[in-house]
């Protein structure tokens, strides 16, 4: 009996999974497809996935006073070139890199010595510090945005890179994760390093850091994904200065000004912003999923 039902059952499972996959894919399909099509094709929902790529007239170019023949462009080129020209998209991407990288480096710089001390050193107040870490794990940083914003505004730091980075420099979660990892490192390793005359400071960076690479990589994935995609915090502290926009903020401003004809360029912008992480994820899938689950499982 099993022999007959198993293939059917297997097929049914795949049918459900494929249906789910199609629904999950819809917005990605729309995003990439719209970024390739002309406004007319978008509005009439024609042209399939790639659009006909018939040359279209750039209305703005005509308005400026150029003859129509000079303003013909292929939709895909129009969309992506507009995405870059209308807003300083590369600047946004660069800001995204600067901010996520600074956040991660500072988090490690502050969390690693603390995690080492909590797991391998004996000192007065250690239990207190550990309970403090456990308590702070309860506080979502997004929730206390208002008081942090007020504090930053009082010292005149809003609209700076510092305001984008400072609130995230302390990652209690990072401390906790690294401490758990360091607990598994044998004491002999550290004692041997001490025998060799290494200072505690260099033990952290030359002995502990290299052993902690897997955990650190998981934490890096967690941190970079969270801050590259974060929209709430930049929205709050960056109010006017376009030069400081992070990618999601840049896209949101684009949405604010866009009329119907700019949908193509907007989707091109969205594609450019979303793609880097997705590509890295596809390349290092196993690591990503392990990283996210490891950091998720606490």
């Amino acid at each position: 009996m099993m022999g007959q039902t198993a293939p059917m059952r297997e097929a049914a499972k795949h049918a459900i999974l494929i249906l789910g996959a199609l629904i999950v894919i819809i917005p990605f399909y729309v995003m990439v497809s719209y970024s390739l099509k002309s406004p007319r094709e978008i509005e009439s929902n024609t042209g399939g996935f790639f659009g006909a790529q018939a040359p279209m007239v750039d209305e703005y170019c005509v308005k400026v006073g150029n003859p129509k023949e000079d303003c013909l462009e292929t939709p895909v080129i129009f969309n992506y070139s507009q995405a870059i020209k209308k807003a300083p998209l590369f600047r946004y991407l660069l800001n995204g890199v600067i901010v996520t990288a600074s956040i991660f480096l500072l988090q490690v710089l502050i969390a690693l010595p603390c995690a080492y001390a909590l797991s391998k050193l004996r000192f007065w107040g250690r239990e207190f510090v550990f309970s403090l870490v456990m308590f702070c794990l309860l506080i979502p940083v997004h929730a206390i945005a208002l008081p942090i914003y007020i504090m930053l505004a009082k010292i005149g730091l809003t609209n700076t890179y510092a305001s984008l980075v400072i609130p995230w420099t302390i990652s209690v979660f990072g401390i906790f994760l690294m401490r758990q990892f360091f607990m598994t490192v044998p004491d002999d390793l550290i004692d041997a390093a001490r025998m060799d005359g290494m200072s505690e400071f260099s033990i952290v960076w030359k002995v502990m850091l290299p052993t902690a690479i897997p955990a650190l990589l998981a934490f890096a994935i967690f941190s970079v994904v969270a801050h590259w995609n974060d929209y709430f915090w930049p929205r709050i502290v960056i109010t006017g200065d376009r030069d400081l926009y992070t990618p999601p903020l840049g896209l949101r401003e684009f949405q604010g000004d866009a009329d119907g004809s700019m949908w193509g360029p907007m989707m091109a912008t969205a594609t450019i912003i979303v793609t880097p992480l997705l590509v890295v994820f596809m390349l290092a899938q196993r690591r990503f999923i392990e990283g996210i689950t490891l950091t998720g499982m606490k």
Binding site: H14, L17, G20, A21, V24, I25, I26, P27, F28, V30, M31, Y34, I42, E43, N45, I110, A111, C114, A117, L121, R122, G125, V129, L132, V133, C136, L138, I139, P140, H142, A143, I144, A145, L146, P147, I148, Y149, I150, M151, A153, T169, I175, E200, W228, N229, Y231, F232, P248, L251, R252, M267, I273, V274, L278, M282, Q285, I289, T293, G296, K298
Partner: protein, 319 residues
């Protein structure tokens, strides 16, 4: 251990501890303090208003709508994204081929910037030219209408079905209609979150010992459902407690979709707490009431975590 480590330990934790006080503890205290005032940024002073902000929160309809929007969102997203996550994990775990492929696809929304995807969903669900409504309209009068109006099931009037009515009249405005807006925003939340839960459940499933299934089968659990009920589900207990907590806390923090698409509307149907904090505190510079909402928010999160700890200590662990 070396004597010098006494001081070293202190210096190693000092930066982290000062930052914890400065960036986590102090802000909570500041928020608590400001929630009893009418402070605005830029004003010289402020006056004490006592419990006024809290009284407002529990008397004005705006804030009761806020609480109900947040709670509705959480109650929609948490069970559905966990159910789908678990379902996907079980299916992927049991198919012979392509499991990794589905896993990759389902995980994509977790990696993509929610704000960008919210804007794409807004296009996709555009009332007139969005892909969803166009596809629905294309199906009108064709075999799809016959199938999905369910008139072929005895006892159901196909003409009165959701689909046929949509064909005659028009399909929903999704974000623009207050009876659909919350459901639609929650749908995006579920779409985004279930892949994350799936991955956690897949990790949980790998720790279920094979022998338990054999033992259960020997004891008469022949049906898949029985094996799930007797072995898989109890063994996934710790994962479930964790998944529920993290999904709930994250759902309470929903902001991107609301800010980009609905702005809390129509008629406050999607006015969730994080958006309220942003609107009151940042946009309208009403720091007093914003802080009061912050405090209520923190209490919610604290309660949730305490409930989680309680469950963990009650040994949801069977291993």
């Amino acid at each position: 251990m070396a004597v010098s480590s006494k001081n070293t330990g202190f210096w190693f934790v000092a930066p982290a501890v000062s930052l914890m006080f400065l960036l986590l503890i102090a802000p909570v205290l500041v928020a608590a303090f400001l929630s009893f005032t009418d402070y605005s940024l830029g004003n010289q002073g402020f006056s004490w208003v006592g419990l006024e902000n809290y009284i407002k929160m529990f008397s004005r309809s705006t804030y009761s709508k806020m609480i109900s929007a947040s709670v509705t969102y959480v109650l929609l997203v948490v069970p559905l994204s966990i159910g789908l996550g678990l379902g996907a994990a079980l299916l992927i775990n049991s198919v012979r081929h392509f499991g990794d492929f589905y896993k990759t696809i389902y995980f994509l929304p977790v990696m993509a910037a929610l704000l960008a995807m919210a804007i794409v969903w807004e296009f996709t669900l555009h009332p007139t030219i969005g892909l969803v409504n166009e596809t629905l309209a294309d199906g009108c009068g064709a075999w799809t209408e016959t199938v999905f109006s369910f008139g072929w099931i005895p006892g159901i009037d196909g003409g009165q079905s959701w689909y046929s009515k949509g064909c005659q009249d028009s399909f929903p405005l999704w974000f623009g209609d207050k009876s659909y807006s919350m459901g639609t925003v929650a749908f995006i939340g579920i779409w985004q979150a279930f892949g994350f839960n799936m991955v956690l459940y897949l990790a949980g499933l790998t720790s279920v010992p094979r022998e338990l299934y054999q033992a259960a089968e020997m004891d008469g659990a022949y049906r898949a459902w029985d094996r799930f009920r007797l072995v898989t589900w109890p063994m996934l207990g710790p994962t479930t407690v964790f998944v529920v907590t993290i999904t709930t806390i994250r759902s309470f923090q929903v902001f991107d979709t609301v800010e980009a698409i609905t702005h809390g509307g129509p008629s406050k149907s999607t006015y969730v707490m994080m958006y309220a904090i942003y609107e009151k505190g940042i946009q309208q510079n009403l720091m007093g009431i914003g802080s009061a909402i912050t405090l209520v928010f923190l209490v919610f999160v604290l309660l949730l975590t305490l409930v989680q700890r309680y469950f963990v200590e009650r040994k949801v662990h069977y291993a």
